[in-house]
């Protein structure tokens, strides 16, 4: 298009490339991991119903292990608060649903903007708190690498730019909207290649670990 604006690019070619890379990367990693699982059973399993063990692990690992309950309460609470706030902000804001509808072909009911504003602010606040903790806590700092910080950054920026676009604050709306879309596209491109992939991998990974443990008769 002649005289393509930043918003035209963000809504058009930018979004197309980001979605292609995202889809390609997610399918690549998921299929690769699934195919690695196929191997011969060389011993007689202790427990035959590995499906129950797999589902059990998915559920049991969603709550802290009793022995560590007090020690990891902060991560546990903030982790749930962050994911819940993110989930609401991303999936129940009317303009977002219209975006998903344009990609998926179907939509769903939305929540009032005031609630989205609240969850958006909570999500940013919690993520910043977690980032500060990661950067200052000696153990967390030790086990963190560039992937952790990049993954937090690429998720934090769309939240901030989204709130700015929502509030029409700092620049013209079309500029803010374009920056918001571009920041989401950066996140989509990073997603399959970094730790954000946990959004796809967590449940299957827990399930796989559960079935393996079940087969060996490990209670975990």
């Amino acid at each position: 298009m002649e005289n393509m604006t930043l918003l035209d690019f963000a809504r058009g070619p930018g979004l197309q490339w980001a979605l292609w890379i995202f889809t390609f990367g997610v399918v690549w990693r998921l299929v690769g991991a699934i195919f690695l699982l196929a191997r011969k059973d060389l011993s007689k399993p202790r427990r035959h119903n590995s499906l129950v063990a797999g589902i059990g692990a998915v559920i049991s690992r969603s709550a802290p292990a009793h022995a560590f309950e007090k020690k990891i309460r902060f991560q546990h609470v903030t982790g749930y608060a962050w994911h819940f706030a993110l989930f609401i902000s991303v999936l129940f804001f009317a303009p977002h649903i219209l975006f998903f509808e344009s990609v998926l072909g179907f939509g769903w009911p939305h929540l009032p903007n005031a609630i989205i504003l609240l969850t958006g602010v909570i999500a940013i606040g919690v993520l910043v708190a977690l980032l500060i903790r990661r950067a200052t806590h000696p153990v967390q700092r030790f086990i963190s690498n560039a992937d952790d910080y990049i993954s937090i950054f690429v998720v934090l920026v769309p939240l901030i730019t989204g709130l700015l676009a929502f509030a029409h604050f700092g620049a013209r709306y079309e500029t803010l909207l374009a920056i918001h879309l571009l920041s989401v596209e950066v996140m989509l491109i990073w997603f399959p290649f970094g730790k954000l992939m946990h959004a796809v991998m967590t449940v299957p990974a827990r399930f796989q670990a559960g079935t393996a443990f079940g087969r060996r008769g490990v209670k975990a």
């Binding site: 298009m1 005289n3 399918v27 195919f35 977002h96 344009s102 079309e174």
Partner: protein
């Protein structure tokens, strides 16, 4: 209006009271974002202003802009001011035709050299100039000739300001805006399809008062009228904030006047004064009439996706392309898993040996 009559005398003759005239001056000053102290200056300048010569060139256009400016419901001070300019050439409105009309244009240009205001509506075909000619003169040649000795140019309507509908893909005539041809004269873009009448009279009033061009935005539009987007001034904005949207043009939300964002309203990215000045003497504007803004005062508005596609909908290509990306990812996944297994097998064989 006699040639040597000033605007004040003319308006008085037309039955416009001093009070009515001052009210118009106050409104114009506030429209142009001038301080209240400027009202007296506006009134004095307008009352004593001599008729400025205006040459109006219509190129690739639909005459909608002229319709907008001349077909007001009842005579207003704005329309009288419009009448009061010396419109020396306008081939839709003038009585003269053929060579006589062209002679009038040439005479006006010579008489008022360096002082006349050139108003252009319509885009200019540069792909093949023969697509639009007047008296055998191509639009391109006529614009260049008329622009050479003008004081300033007012590009009226989105076609003249940004290329508009003729410029829409695939642009068969090679249509361009005035600013893509004329580079050495001040150009005021009064965009809109059509533009709001009071915006053009506001710009003319600014000329008459200050003899300068008004403050313009990055797209060359007067900031007094194009400084804010429709969404920020829309009376339906509270419904947007509450998340109350019309889903179709005839549902309960539509009847209750809820926000039209989901129906493709381009208000948030459109800069114009429709929501404040409104149309037909402040009666209504498209959103008030129940239809979303189509963004007609913005460049390439015709090519920015469907009028009924919500602003947040992406133009993300086809599902086939996404399926292709997924297939490529799956192939690479299978390939890398097989390669890993082969490596493992080789390592085990080496260990055994």
């Amino acid at each position: 209006m006699r040639k040597n009559q000033n605007l004040g005398e003319y308006l008085q003759m037309q039955g416009v009271s001093r009070r009515g005239f001052l009210k118009f001056c106050s409104a114009t000053a506030s429209l142009m974002a001038l301080p209240p102290s400027a009202v007296a200056q506006v009134a004095e300048a307008l009352a004593t202003a001599r008729r400025p010569s205006v040459i109006w060139l219509s190129f690739q256009e639909c005459t909608g802009c002229t319709e907008s400016l001349t077909r007001s419901h009842a005579p207003t001070v704005e329309s009288l001011i419009f009448d009061a300019i010396s419109l020396d050439y306008h081939h839709t409105l003038q009585a003269a035709a053929g060579h006589g009309a062209e002679a009038a244009r040439e005479a006006a240009m010579e008489e008022n050299s360096g002082e006349y205001i050139l108003v252009v509506d319509g885009s200019i075909p540069v792909g093949n100039p023969a697509y639009s000619t007047i008296a055998g003169i191509s639009n391109l040649d006529m614009l260049k000739e008329a622009a050479e000795h003008c004081f300033a140019i007012v590009a009226v309507g989105t076609c003249a300001a940004f290329g508009g509908l003729p410029n829409a893909q695939p642009n068969p005539t090679g249509a361009v805006s005035v600013s893509e041809i004329v580079k050495d004269k001040p150009i005021i873009n009064v965009s809109g399809c059509p533009p709001i009448p009071v915006v053009i009279t506001g710009v003319l009033a600014h000329f008459l008062t200050f003899g300068t061009i008004p403050e313009l935005d990055a797209l060359g539009r007067p900031t007094a009228f194009f400084g804010q987007n429709i969404h920020d001034r829309c009376y339906r904005r509270p419904f947007y904030e509450r998340g109350e949207f019309a889903e179709t043009f005839d549902d309960e939300g539509a009847r209750k006047g809820w926000c039209l964002y989901k129906l493709g309203c381009k208000g948030p990215t459109t800069y114009n004064a429709c929501a404040t000045l409104k149309w037909n003497q402040g009666t209504s504007f498209p959103i008030q009439a129940g239809h979303g803004c189509i963004g007609c005062s913005e460049p390439q508005f015709w090519d920015k996706g469907g009028f009924y596609d919500p602003l947040s909908a992406g133009q993300w290509g086809s599902r086939d392309a996404l399926l292709g990306a997924a297939a490529a990812g799956a192939a690479l996944g299978v390939g890398s898993a097989l390669a890993a297994r082969a490596r493992k097998k080789r390592a085990m064989a080496e260990e055994e040996a």
